[in-house]
């Protein structure tokens, strides 16, 4: 029942917002829905933490991996949702009330589709929900309704839809393999896992390729990532934060579910090799684009491709440490990137441009914004003492341990390239003199308060991994069949 409650919060909120005329009412419904969802999400997490193996209700089911994802979705949803209220007041005045209504309603619908995707046992329903995330966000990408927004939204919809259709092909093939063995089994993941060892390995391998290309498109793996920089840079900042921080992770979540089945049916080598190849390609391609990036929102978007690549490498290296590193990196990337995209909203409100060359002296003109941007970017490029450093360290360490040395070495070299490229951009934006006289003023201040949570958690994950968190991640790993 609690899962039904969780899913009903954003869906009811979305419907209620559509029927509202007053802006204040919309904002209240929206903000309270994100906070309540976080509380319910956290209580599901604690129930599983406390030892309850699964929470389920009809088609809905949450094991530890789902709870992990629900945590990420609702946390980033709340931070971005609270920021969004003040941001939208500055971006769209009361003459654009229909856009504001659409924004809040689709924001909630987006949260709903992501929660549904991770809280169901039915892989077909998961597919429907993940395609739903595209449909919910496509008008958000085009909210400003200009040329570039239109281009980004069209590309996003057509590329994601084609990609996701291939994922459906993969899903069908897996169930074909299952139905040969045991006849009718629905599309349940739990059932599938229980018979995975008997599945025909060749069919499962074929299916995994489709799944990897299909859900990899949503996760932002190269070379299917081409929609990502456009959509992330055109969408309003809170939506970019959600897309980058959470939506990509939902794609990875789907990959993890199928990887588990594939590993049992066909041995872990097969999925490993392909995940490593796509991961390294993503990392390399992102590094090339990050070296000379002119637009800071696109810079953050390409960095998402990079980090998806790192997570894919972690999944590919495999074993307890590879997967633990990948999970940790999913959290760290969600925290970092949502923070940075929200801060980028502040920057564009202050400078009215998304060009890196248009932004100078950020630390002087908007001190808090500049400080948050510095904090986030240092974490993002993998400097200690922040979380991403630790998770990247664990991932590459596991790469050497798994004898995937060439992949690990190339990956680390590419990280250095990214480091250099992003540090140069950061340097340019933070220091120097702004082109005109600008007094020190942050466009949004109170809205940035929730970001302090991201900042503190990033530092926390860099300094320590509390036993409780470690135990919870251990439970997550157990659901995908990996233990120390």
């Amino acid at each position: 029942m609690i899962l039904l409650l969780l899913l009903s919060i954003p869906s009811v909120a979305s419907a209620a917002i559509m029927g509202t005329r007053r802006r204040r009412t919309m904002e209240w419904i929206h903000a309270s829905a994100t906070v309540v969802a976080l509380i319910v999400g956290a209580s599901i997490g604690t129930r599983i933490w406390a030892g309850e193996p699964v929470v389920s209700w009809s088609l809905l089911r949450a094991d530890a991996l789902s709870a992990f994802m629900i945590g990420i979705v609702t946390f980033v949803g709340a931070v971005a949702g609270l920021y969004a209220v003040a941001y939208m007041r500055l971006e769209f005045d009361d003459n654009h009330l229909s856009q504001v209504r659409l924004f809040y309603a689709l924001f909630q619908l987006f949260i709903f589709t992501m929660l549904l995707a991770v809280a169901t046992d039915n892989l077909g329903l998961m597919w429907v929900a993940i395609e739903g995330t595209t449909l919910a966000t496509v008008f958000l990408v085009n909210l400003h309704d200009n040329h570039t927004g239109l281009e980004a939204a069209y590309k996003y919809l057509i590329i994601s839809s084609v990609g996701i259709a291939l994922a459906f092909m993969g899903t069908v093939l897996v169930f074909y393999a299952a139905s040969i063995e045991v006849g009718e089994i629905g599309l349940s993941w739990t059932m599938l896992i229980s018979i995975a060892a008997r599945l025909n390995p060749n069919i499962v391998k074929l299916a995994f390729i489709f799944i990897l290309i299909g859900y990899g498109t949503k996760a932002g793996l190269a070379p299917m990532h081409t929609w990502l920089p456009d959509a992330h840079s055109e969408a309003p900042a809170p939506i970019s934060a959600l897309m980058s921080g959470v939506l990509l992770n939902v794609g990875i979540y789907a990959l993890i579910r199928f990887k588990t089945v594939t590993d049992i049916a066909a041995g872990p080598e097969f999925s490993s090799v392909w995940l490593m190849r796509f991961g390294l390609l993503s990392l390399g391609l992102a590094a090339a684009f990050l070296l000379s990036q002119r637009n800071y929102k696109r810079m953050l978007a390409y960095s998402s491709v990079e980090h998806t690549g790192i997570v894919a490498l972690g999944l590919g290296f495999g074993g307890y440490w590879g997967l633990l590193g990948a999970l940790l990196h999913m959290i760290n990337h969600a925290l970092t990137k949502s923070m940075l995209f929200l801060v980028s909203g502040n920057i564009s409100l202050r400078y009215h441009t998304t060009e890196i060359y248009g932004v100078r002296g950020l630390l002087k003109t908007a001190p808090w914004t500049g400080f948050a941007f510095l904090w986030g970017t240092l974490a993002l490029i993998g400097l200690p003492p922040f979380g991403p450093f630790i998770s990247e360290f664990i991932i590459f360490r596991s790469g050497f341990a798994a004898h995937s040395t060439p992949y690990a070495v190339t990956g680390i070299a590419l990280l250095v390239v990214v480091f250099a490229g992003m540090l140069a951009s950061l340097n340019h934006m933070l220091y120097g003199q702004p082109s005109g006289p600008m007094e020190a003023r942050d466009p949004l201040r109170w809205s940035m308060v929730p970001l302090a949570l991201n900042a503190i958690l990033l530092l926390g994950f860099g300094l320590t991994l509390p036993a409780g968190v470690r135990a919870f991640l251990g439970q997550v790993l157990k659901t995908v069949g990996v233990s120390l």
Binding site: L59, N122, G124, L125, W127, V128, E131, G132, T134, L135, V138, F139, D145, H147, T148, L150, E151, A152, A153, Y154, K155, L157, I158, S161, V162, A165, L166, F168, M169, V172, L173, F175, Y176, S179, I180, G186, L187, N200, N202, I203, K205, L206, P229, D230, S233, E234, F289, Q293, R294, R298
Partner: protein, 216 residues
Amino acid sequence: MPFARITNLLSFIFLLMSFLLLMQNSLAAQVRMFAVQSGVLSALAAAVAFFGGSKELFSVAVVFALIKVIVIPNVLNRAVTKIGIQRAVAPYLGTSATLGICAGLVVVAFYAMAPVTALKPLPTVDGIPLAFAGVLIGLFTTVNRRRALTQILGFLMLENSVFMVALLATYGVPLIVEMGVFLDVLVAVLILEVFVYRIRENFESIDVQHLGSLRG
């Protein structure tokens, strides 16, 4: 076995419609071919429902026909009339090269689906490579076409083919999933239609080559 013969025949006609679609020069004719292809697929669903003894699948066939034979072609036709462009030309490759490549893709499909057809648990299994060839052709068409509308047709062909693989390989997925998939596709097409109009208004063309300002 009549079941195997009927499904094989329908699968073959299905793939034939993909080729016929690619040979058409006018958008209206392409939309017609798509509608016919969807009709064939709906008949295939009905056949599988009849021989496979699944009542659920009958309703899927009916809903499928409603959406893909009536609603979506109507939406596309409305778009064709409204933007006033009849000719569907301007692929990156010409018709003969396209057909050659698609013929090659059929061969690839048979090769790729070898592990699937190696086992013969179902009478419908021989149609799967044909359906998969449809997937590849749809994918290729989406990439090869410059016009937004023809890209959408490519996507729809791809979608049809994936549905057909599901039909032949598993006798359809559970009803609730099937309905969810239909809903998603319908909404996607409706949104894409809106975009076609907006691209037309903004760029005075539906040539997606104009969509090139976001690079790097």
